[in-house]
C-alpha cells in the first residue's frame, strides 16, 4: 500500500489534516520542536494582499498608510515586480498561519512545515520574543486598539486622529525601552486601566505644567534641573507621559503605537535567524517526508524548485541585488552548524572547537533560544560559508571618490567579514541613535533631541518632517543636534 500522504496535488481540508499530522510527528519527535498550538487559516490571494499591507496583522487599526501599502503591493503584484508570500504567520498563541488557497498541496505542506512549525517554534523559544512579546494577548490587544481608534475617529473626527497616528508612525521605531523589560499586555486589564490612566496622566501633566508662580521660586534662585534627568531613547513613551499638549485619548493612541512597535521589536532583530530556522525546519521535514515515501518524487521536485527559488542569494553585481536574503543566509548558517557538528574539517576544529562532536540539533535549538541575528552571525558564521558565499568587505569613506575592498574570503578576511556582517545586523546600525535630552519646562518648553552619529554618518533630510511630527505631539518647538565629532579622515569605528 502506498504511504503517500496525497496523490493529487490539489489540496483539500482532509489532506491538510493528514499532512499536518505527519509533519507534527517529525517536528516534535525528530526535531524536538516546542510549539504553540497551531491554527491554520486558508485565505485567497486578495486577502493575502490585505494582510500584507497592515504589517501582516489581521486586526490592525485603520490608517491611510496601510491603504497606500496595499495599493503599492497590488500594483507591483499585478505588474509582476513581486510575487506574493506563500504564507504569513503571526506570533500569537494559538499561532496563526495563513495559507493561500492558490497554493498546490506540496506548497501547503512546505508552508505548514515552515510557518506552523519553524516560525512557531522560534516565536515560542527565542529569548527576545519571550522577553518582549506576549503571544497570548496580542490579538486581544490589537482588537482593543482597533476599536479604540475607531471610537476616537467617531468622537474627535478622522482628521485629528489621522494626524496623531501619522506623527506616531514617524517615530514608531523609537518606542522601545532598550534596557528595560516591558510589562505584558492584556486586553481586559488594558481596557480597565486605560480610563484610570487617562485621568491620572492628564492630572500629572497638568501638575507638571501648572504655571502658577511659586513663591519659593522668586527667592531661591536655583539652577534649572535637567528634565528628563537621564536621556530617554523611548521617545514615544516620553511624549505619552510628558507631552504638555496631548489630550488623554491621544496619549492612549501614542501608547497603542508604542505597544505595537514593541511587539515588532524582536522580529526586526531576528529576521535572519527566524527565516533561516523556518527554512531549515521545512527543508528537514520535507526531506524526511520524501525519504519515508510520504511524498512522491514529482512533488519533491516541485518542493526543491520553490525552495531554491525562495532561497536564492543574488550577487552584489546583479541588477536586482537588494542586500542579503535572510532566508538564504540564515538557512546556510544553520545547515553549516549541522555540518560542523557531524562532519568537521580541520578548519572547523580550529574555529569551532566547542561544536565538535556536539549534537547538532542541540546546538541549533540552543542558538534559536539564545541568539539574535547580530550575535548569531558573530558566533556561527564559518569560513566555509564565507567562502561558499564569496563574502567580501567594502570600506566606503566619505572623502574618497572610490570604495576600497578591505577584506575577502581568505584567512585574513574571515574575522573581519564576520564582525562587519554581524555589525550590519545590529540595532545600532539599523536605527540612528536619537535620544531626548532636555525638555525645558520652565521657559520655552523646547524639546531637545540629540543624535549620536557613528563614523560621521548624518541624518538625511527626512529628519525635518519627522521633527514636525514630534512637534505636533509635543506642542512646542523641537530641535535636534548632531553630536558628532568632526570626522577624522582615517577613523572608522566598529560600533
Amino acid at each position: 500500500m502506498s504511504k503517500l500522504l496525497y496523490d493529487t496535488n490539489d489540496w483539500t481540508f482532509d489532506r491538510l489534516r493528514i499532512v499536518e499530522d505527519a509533519i507534527r510527528d517529525i517536528a516534535l519527535k525528530e526535531l524536538r520542536l516546542d510549539v504553540y498550538p497551531n491554527q491554520i487559516e486558508i485565505i485567497g490571494s486578495d486577502q493575502m494582499l490585505d494582510a500584507y499591507s497592515s504589517h501582516g496583522l489581521p486586526l490592525m487599526y485603520n490608517h491611510w498608510s496601510f491603504g497606500k501599502h496595499f495599493l503599492h503591493q497590488a500594483y507591483s503584484y499585478r505588474k509582476g515586480f513581486s510575487g506574493l508570500a506563500y504564507e504569513i504567520v503571526i506570533n500569537s498563541s494559538p499561532c496563526i498561519s495563513y495559507l493561500m488557497e492558490e497554493n498546490s498541496m506540496t506548497m501547503q505542506t512546505l508552508v505548514i512545515a515552515h510557518a506552523a512549525y519553524g516560525h512557531n517554534h522560534f516565536f515560542k523559544n527565542n529569548y527576545l520574543f519571550k522577553q518582549w512579546t506576549d503571544a497570548e494577548s496580542i490579538l486581544d490587544y490589537l482588537s482593543f486598539a482597533k476599536k479604540y481608534i475607531a471610537k476616537c475617529e467617531e468622537k474627535y473626527g478622522t482628521e485629528i486622529v489621522e494626524q496623531t497616528l501619522d506623527a506616531c508612525h514617524a517615530i514608531m521605531n523609537y518606542g522601545v525601552d532598550k534596557y528595560k523589560r516591558p510589562s505584558k499586555i492584556n486586553k481586559k486589564r488594558e481596557e480597565e486601566q486605560q480610563k484610570a490612566r487617562e485621568e491620572y496622566v492628564q492630572q500629572q501633566a497638568n501638575i507638571l505644567w501648572s504655571t502658577l508662580p511659586n513663591k519659593q521660586e522668586k527667592t531661591v534662585v536655583s539652577k534649572r534641573e535637567r528634565f528628563p534627568a537621564e536621556p530617554q531613547d523611548n521617545i514615544l513613551y516620553f511624549l505619552e507621559k510628558h507631552s504638555p499638549s496631548l489630550k488623554s485619548w491621544q496619549r492612549e493612541i501614542v501608547r497603542i503605537v508604542r505597544k505595537i512597535s514593541q511587539y515588532f521589536y524582536p522580529q526586526i532583530q531576528t529576521k535572519l535567524m527566524n527565516e533561516g530556522w523556518a527554512s531549515f525546519v521545512h527543508y528537514y521535514i520535507m526531506n524526511r517526508l520524501w525519504e519515508n515515501g510520504q511524498i512522491s518524487d514529482g512533488n519533491y521536485l516541485e518542493f526543491i524548485q520553490s525552495h531554491s527559488g525562495v532561497l536564492t542569494q543574488l550577487n552584489y553585481n546583479n541588477k536586482y541585488y537588494n542586500g542579503f536574503n535572510p532566508y538564504a543566509l540564515g538557512f546556510a548558517i544553520f545547515t553549516d552548524i549541522r555540518r560542523i557538528c557531524t562532519d568537521p574539517t580541520d578548519e572547523d576544529r580550529e574555529f569551532f572547537p566547542h561544536l565538535i562532536g556536539q549534537d547538532w540539533l542541540e546546538v541549533c535549538l540552543d542558538a534559536v533560544q539564545n541568539y539574535r541575528d547580530e550575535s548569531f552571525i558573530l558566533q556561527f558564521l564559518s569560513p566555509h560559508v564565507i567562502r561558499k558565499w564569496r563574502l567580501f568587505e567594502i570600506t566606503n569613506k566619505e572623502v574618497d571618490r572610490h570604495v576600497t575592498i578591505s577584506g575577502i574570503q581568505n584567512d585574513q578576511g574571515y574575522n573581519r567579514i564576520r564582525r562587519t556582517l554581524s555589525n550590519q545586523y545590529s540595532m545600532f546600525s539599523r536605527l540612528p541613535d536619537i535620544q531626548i535630552v532636555d525638555a525645558n519646562l520652565k521657559t520655552t518648553r523646547r524639546l531637545e533631541l540629540h543624535y549620536f552619529p557613528v563614523n560621521g554618518i548624518k541624518l538625511d533630510k527626512s529628519k525635518d518632517s519627522v521633527l514636525k511630527h514630534i512637534e505636533f505631539l509635543w506642542g512646542y518647538e523641537v530641535s535636534i543636534t548632531n553630536l558628532g565629532l568632526a570626522l577624522a579622515g582615517e577613523t572608522l569605528f566598529y560600533i
Partner: protein, 428 residues
C-alpha cells in the same frame, strides 16, 4: 492537532477602508491625474480598468541616515574578482552601495498605483449628473431582493421573533386563564397550614383546587407552537432603470479621421457615464450621410463614406427605432450626435420637423459639433446649417444641448458642460 479554518468566505476587502482613506488624502492629485489622462486621450485605458496614477506627498518620514555621508563598512556576497585594497569608483550619484534602498527606482515621494475602474469613474464623473435621470417604469427585472413583510408562523430559527412570540404566548395565557405558578404556590401554602390545623374539609377542597389548577396549567402550555412567530421575508423585484443611447455620427465626406476620432471619444465617455448610472443600457449606432442606417459598433467607427449630408434622415431613423423597439414609458432615451455641422440647406426644414417630433420623447439630446482645424485656422466660424437649426430649437426645448470641440482636449470640457450639475440647476 492543528485547527484548520477556512477564511476564504470572510469579507475580502478588509483594507477597503484604508484604501479609501488614502484616496481621500490624495483626492485632488488623483483628480488632476485623471483629468490629464482624459486630456491626453487615454480614455481607452478605462476599459481595462487600469489607470496609473502618480501622487506626491504621501511619504512616511522616519529618521534615516544619509547614505552619502560618513564612513562605512559593509559586507556583500559574490566576490568574483576583487582582492584586498582593490578600489572601485563610486557611482556618480554618490550612491551608497551597501544600504538597502530597494524599491523600483521611483523617488520616494512619487507614489504610483492603479485605480480600479469604479474609483476612476467616480473621479471622472464626480461632478456630473444626468439630466432627468429619474424615470420610467421597470421592464427588465434582474435582481430579486428579500424584503421584510410582516410575520409568519413558519420560518427558520434564526428568524424567530422572540418578542412577538412571547406577546402571543402572554395573550393566550391570559385569554385562557392559565393558572400562574404563584397561585398554586399560595394554595399549597394554605394547604400546608390547613394540614397543620387539621381542617379536613379545607384540605380536600384545597387539594382539589390545586389539582384542577395543575391540570389546567398542563392543558394550557406556557409557550405553544401556536404562539411562535417568525420574521417574514418575501422576494421583491428590484427596479432597474434602463436606458438606450443613440449614437448618431455623420460619416459624410467632410468628416475626416480626426473628426471621427473626436466623436468616438465623446461617445465613449457618454457610454461610460451612462453605464455608471444605469444597470442596463442599450446602444444603437446610427451613421448617416445622405442616407442613414443602423450599424454595428465596429462598422460605426471604421468605414468612411463620401457624399453629402442629410441629417433629417438620421433623426427620422432614430424616431423610427424608438417607435419600434423602445417604448417611451419604459426607457430613458439619450441621443448623442457627432457632426461637423454640414447639412444641405434644403434639409433645414425637414431637420427641424424631425427634431420636433423626436425631442419630446427623448430625455436628452446632446449635440457635439466638431469644428475642424481648417475652419478655426481660416476663421470660418459662422454657424453651420445644423447649428442654426438646433439653436432655434433651444428656445422651446430644454433637453437639447449644443457643444463644440476642435481637438481631443476639448472633449472633456464639452462633455462636462453637457452634463454638469450646475447646468442642470441653471436650466431649472
Amino acid at each position: 492537532m492543528a485547527t484548520i479554518i477556512d477564511r476564504r468566505l470572510n469579507p475580502r476587502d478588509k483594507t477597503i477602508k484604508n484604501r479609501q482613506k488614502f484616496i481621500e488624502r490624495t483626492r485632488d492629485q488623483i483628480k488632476k491625474s485623471v483629468k490629464d489622462s482624459i486630456d491626453s486621450g487615454n480614455i481607452a485605458d478605462i476599459e481595462n480598468g487600469k489607470i496609473r496614477v502618480r501622487v506626491k506627498g504621501t511619504s512616511e518620514p522616519e529618521f534615516k541616515t544619509d547614505p552619502k555621508t560618513g564612513n562605512r563598512r559593509y559586507v556583500m556576497p559574490g566576490n568574483d574578482q576583487y582582492v584586498v585594497n582593490d578600489t572601485v569608483d563610486k557611482p556618480e550619484d554618490g550612491g551608497g552601495q551597501g544600504g538597502n534602498q530597494g524599491g523600483l527606482g521611483r523617488s520616494e515621494d512619487d507614489f504610483e498605483f492603479i485605480l480600479n475602474k469604479e474609483e476612476y469613474l467616480d473621479f471622472i464623473f464626480d461632478d456630473l449628473e444626468l439630466p432627468d435621470l429619474v424615470k420610467k417604469q421597470i421592464k427588465d427585472v434582474k435582481k430579486i431582493k428579500m424584503k421584510r413583510a410582516g410575520y409568519s408562523n413558519q420560518g427558520n430559527p434564526s428568524q424567530l421573533d422572540v418578542v412577538r412570540s412571547l406577546k402571543n404566548s402572554l395573550g393566550r395565557r391570559i385569554g385562557l386563564a392559565r393558572p400562574k405558578n404563584e397561585e398554586i404556590e399560595q394554595l399549597e401554602q394554605e394547604l400546608e397550614q390547613a394540614r397543620a390545623k387539621k381542617k379536613k374539609k379545607l384540605i380536600t377542597e384545597l387539594e382539589e383546587r390545586i389539582a384542577e389548577l395543575k391540570r389546567r396549567q398542563v392543558a394550557v402550555p406556557w409557550l405553544d407552537p401556536f404562539d411562535v412567530r417568525y420574521r417574514n421575508f418575501v422576494p421583491h423585484p428590484e427596479p432597474i432603470t434602463q436606458a438606450v443611447m443613440f449614437c448618431v455620427l455623420d460619416v459624410s465626406g467632410s468628416m475626416g479621421q480626426t473628426e471621427k476620432d473626436i466623436a468616438k471619444r465623446f461617445f465613449f465617455l457618454l457610454y461610460m457615464f451612462l453605464h455608471k448610472k444605469y444597470e442596463k443600457i442599450d446602444i444603437v449606432f446610427i451613421r448617416h450621410h445622405e442616407v442613414a442606417s443602423e450599424v454595428e459598433e465596429e462598422e460605426f467607427f471604421k468605414s468612411r463614406e463620401s457624399g453629402g449630408t442629410v441629417v433629417s434622415e438620421a433623426i427620422k431613423l432614430v424616431k423610427k427605432i424608438i417607435d419600434e423597439r423602445y417604448s417611451v414609458s419604459d426607457w430613458n432615451i439619450y441621443v448623442a450626435q457627432g457632426s461637423d455641422g454640414d447639412n444641405y440647406q434644403s434639409d433645414y426644414n425637414n431637420t427641424l420637423a424631425a427634431m420636433r417630433s423626436l425631442l419630446p420623447v427623448v430625455q436628452y439630446y446632446a449635440y457635439l459639433e466638431i469644428v475642424s482645424h481648417f475652419k478655426v485656422q481660416w476663421s470660418i466660424l459662422a454657424p453651420t446649417e445644423l447649428r442654426k437649426a438646433y439653436t432655434s430649437l433651444e428656445k422651446s426645448y430644454s433637453n437639447i444641448n449644443i457643444q463644440q470641440a476642435t481637438t481631443v482636449k476639448d472633449i472633456w470640457r464639452a462633455f462636462k458642460k453637457l452634463f454638469s450639475k450646475e447646468k442642470e440647476k441653471a436650466t431649472k
